[in-house]
Symmetry: C2
Subunit: 214 residues, 2 copies
DNA sequence: CATATCTGATAGCGTAACTATCAGAGTTGG
DNA sequence: CCAACTCTGATAGTTACGCTATCAGATATG
């Protein structure tokens, strides 16, 4: 396993990605070129293998587009301060919400859910939450203020966990990677766990052994 | 506003969607046809307008594909019991995880996060969470058990809020709609609020007035 | 009655993410 | 040494998706 040089065929079989796909990632600047040993020969190392796994995590598990993955990987590689890396990761996990398309009252309602929070006006999450609020009320689900508030509490807990995990890393590279991976995969982790909890709780309240109507 | 019959042009301008797009939704069976008044004339009502808004909520805000939106809308329209509607909504919010691609030990770790929860083996959320766990450890972030546990707690809180909101509705149609909308938009709401909380908490711990390195 | 608008049907477009093919150079087992 | 295999970058093609443009004919309107 350790420090194995390999050629493209082995990199492909070990990563599970097709040769053509790996070359595509190279063209897209997601993956650095191999170490050249001739005009048309190159060797790859464990770093390439790990990088491909990271790309797969971001794209297939995290649902990022290739373009978003490139931005995020560039942020990891860079020497940017962590807050900037955080911001890039945040902006990449879902396309930006047009700020002018979000009504002010929706923003006000969302801001009321975050008392004392220090959040900038153009935080993409704030805008996205306000968009959801607006959509929700526009569909006619008007009396869900409690639902929003409880989501804000859950989100605060998760964000605390994120930051604690960040504090546990020492090196910048490790911090940057956990920022990115945690931001991208955290959404999916939460949504999976929420669905499991939904099944658990709904089975408690709606036992339904035969075909019931509730 | 109330009970207005309208033709396609007005339906288009009031919903903000292009005529061709609305017709596309009709062809895709997301939207029922209008009330015919002649061989090539039809009228639409407020129900159509609301339906278009729901489609937009599911696709643009919730990120569902047209095919997934169709399944979800069919579930709302049907007289299926609520648990089935829940299941369809859950399966539609992100494509299924191949159960054979998730290692048993990742499933075991995830199950340990949900002690006493009554969750079926093929719950898509359980599989997705296990996939995230596997990806996370595969990338080398091995000591994040606390992070996962705290996410499970946050997810439980959110799911409780979901179920309470469900209980607050009386009619099946209202329950079905909140199940679907809550499942689809809940993910996005949480992720937005989490990003806002991340900014708040990271600004507390990493004040960084000049360009710092942490 | 001239112009505008409606209808369903069909075909086309733009983006994204691969995937297939190619020609030429390098590697390898007998 | 050589035939078979594999590597390289470059380019073109494919598939899926979500619209979008166009058309011909019927209907509505001032």
């Amino acid at each position: 396993m350790a420090e194995a040089d390999m050629k493209m065929a082995e990199l492909s079989s070990r990563s599970g990605m097709a040769v053509a796909t790996i070359k595509f990632y190279q063209r897209q600047n997601l993956l650095p070129p191999g170490r050249r040993t001739g005009p048309n020969q190159a060797l790859y190392g464990d770093a390439h293998l790990g990088r491909i796994r990271l790309i797969v995590a971001l794209t297939e598990v995290g649902g990022l587009t290739v373009a978003a993955a490139r931005r995020v990987l560039e942020a990891i590689d860079s020497e940017l301060p962590l807050p900037e890396t955080f911001e890039i990761a945040q902006h990449s996990v879902s396309e930006a919400v047009d700020p002018t398309a979000v009504p002010a009252d929706a923003l006000a309602h969302v801001d009321a859910l975050m008392p004392g929070w220090h959040v900038s006006d153009d935080n993409p999450g704030r805008l996205a939450a306000a968009q959801v609020f607006d959509t929700f009320t526009g569909i006619g689900q008007v009396d869900a203020a409690g639902w929003f508030r409880r989501y804000a509490e859950a989100a605060f807990l998760a964000a605390e966990a994120d930051i604690d995990e960040l504090d546990a890393r020492i090196e910048r590279a490790a911090k940057a990677e956990i920022v990115v991976v945690g931001t991208v995969l955290g959404d999916r982790l939460f949504s999976g766990l929420r669905r499991a909890a939904q099944e658990h709780l709904s089975s408690l309240r709606y036992p339904a052994p035969p075909a019931s109507e509730l």
